[in-house]
């Protein structure tokens, strides 16, 4: 384990001074709660000792090779890989392993997560060469024989790395917004104050509604990598979700088809199936993109 950085002297100085001042004033609870340098070192050492013991006691350990990068710290602005030995337990996910490494070795290890159950879409990572959700990937599944060895964890490819495993999602969200991912028809049928959907239509769009905006598909797509304006699989899937929803009127459907058939829309897709391979919610993305291509053709075909 390495944090790759030695703490600068003057920072230590000011920090303990500040703590001292706050203590003397005896008014800032926050200041009082903060540990001084010796306490931090002791806590770190204790945590490392605990980690060592846990690793020694474990039947199996897994070696995490984690991408590290922090442009704001001179010592860390050169990307590198750190190794963390983590005790393996049955049922452990890649996210669990990362959290263990963060909590026991290096609290500066940065990654996004929230729900831990494949719902929030925060922790799409590049694990052993594939876009996966950390919380939905069993460490045991990464080894052929179920006994984990080494796991390589990197930030999503084709996105700007902010720090360690965190990438900038802004562009992905922009593409999602550009297909107007919300229901727009206000009209309700006579005598009803709700918009009912037929079972068949619900089935048709069922899978497309499952997207959790994780960005795995966009990251896996070779076309999106080379064309920043390409809507990308997730946005097109969103467009499918509404264009195929019969409750929206014809004008709206046409408006939606106009969006997806523009130059950087569905026709960029080369059916490489990369997105479909990686989608953690098993959405048949390529199938939906192809369906929209056919809708776009049908809309424009005129036999007179």
């Amino acid at each position: 384990m390495s944090t790759g950085i030695t703490r600068p002297e003057e920072e230590e100085e000011t920090e303990s001074q500040a703590v001292g001042a706050a203590r003397a004033a005896g008014e800032s609870a926050y200041g009082q709660a903060r540990m001084n340098e010796t306490e931090i070192d002791a806590a770190n050492e204790a945590s490392q000792r605990r980690a060592r013991r846990a690793v020694e006691d474990a039947d199996h350990t897994v070696e995490l090779k984690v991408f590290r990068y922090d442009p704001e710290v001179p010592e860390k602005e050169k990307p590198r890989f750190d190794s963390f030995t983590v005790p393996f337990a049955k049922g452990m996910t890649v996210l669990d392993a990362l959290m263990w490494a963060r909590d026991h070795y290096d609290s500066s290890l940065t990654f996004r997560h929230s729900c831990r159950q494949a719902v929030c879409g925060s922790d799409a990572l590049f694990v052993d060469g594939k876009q996966r959700l950390g919380c939905k990937t069993q460490v045991a599944d990464l080894a052929d024989d179920g006994v984990p060895g080494e796991v390589r964890i990197e930030p999503l490819p084709h996105a700007e790395v902010v720090k360690d495993l965190v990438v900038d999602m802004e562009h992905f969200y922009d593409q999602m917004e550009s297909v107007e991912p919300y229901f727009q028809d206000e009209d309700t049928p006579d005598g009803l104050n709700e918009q009912r959907q037929s079972r068949e239509n619900r089935e048709k769009i069922k899978m497309s509604t499952r997207c959790i905006w994780c960005g795995a598909c966009m990251s896996s797509c070779n076309i999106a990598a080379g064309d920043n304006e390409y809507l990308g699989p997730a946005a097109i899937n969103k467009a499918y979700r509404f264009a195929m929803d019969e409750r929206e009127g014809e004008d709206l459907t046409e408006h939606r088809l106009n969006i997806i058939e523009q130059e950087h829309g569905v026709w960029r897709c080369q059916t490489q199936f990369s997105c479909t391979e990686v989608c953690p919610k098993d959405i048949p993305l390529t199938e939906h993109i192809q369906a929209l291509k056919r809708e776009a053709v049908k809309k424009n075909l005129k036999f007179w």
Partner: protein, 130 residues
């Protein structure tokens, strides 16, 4: 906005060992398509020798067929053409939304069938040359 951060070989073709079926199908399809376009030009060039008379055409073809490399190139051309046609049919099915869950298997089937046809063609193409 999204400039992809350069992580060297972390990205793109350096990852070829991790490509899955659909990606390989795409790469092979583009490759074979452009080889076929290239062949089209050679094909026209060879056929054009007939403009100088039947004898020139015959001797050109005989000269080419006498070369062992040409025989092997012919086998290669067949491989390229057969794969492009079989995978082309696969892509047409994909465009029609038919059997997308089996797209990887249909790619492997195209490969195996191509291999079989090519192997079966070897005796014909190499007859008399070895």
């Amino acid at each position: 906005m999204s400039q992809s951060y350069d992580r060297g070989l972390v990205e793109d073709f350096g990852r070829w060992t991790e490509f899955s079926a659909g990606m390989w199908a795409w790469i092979f399809h583009k490759f074979t398509g452009w080889v076929l376009v290239g062949y089209l030009f050679t094909h026209i060039a060879v056929l054009s020798t007939a403009m100088a008379g039947p004898e020139v055409y015959t001797s050109t073809l005989q000269g080419l067929e006498a070369l062992l490399v040409v025989r092997f190139l012919e086998v290669g051309l067949l491989a390229v053409a057969v794969f492009h046609i079989l995978n082309g049919v696969r892509l047409l099915l994909v465009d029609l939304g038919i059997g997308l869950e089996s797209q990887d298997r249909s790619f492997y089937a195209s490969l195996i069938l191509t291999g079989a046809i090519v192997v079966a063609s070897v005796p014909t193409f190499l007859a008399g040359a070895l």
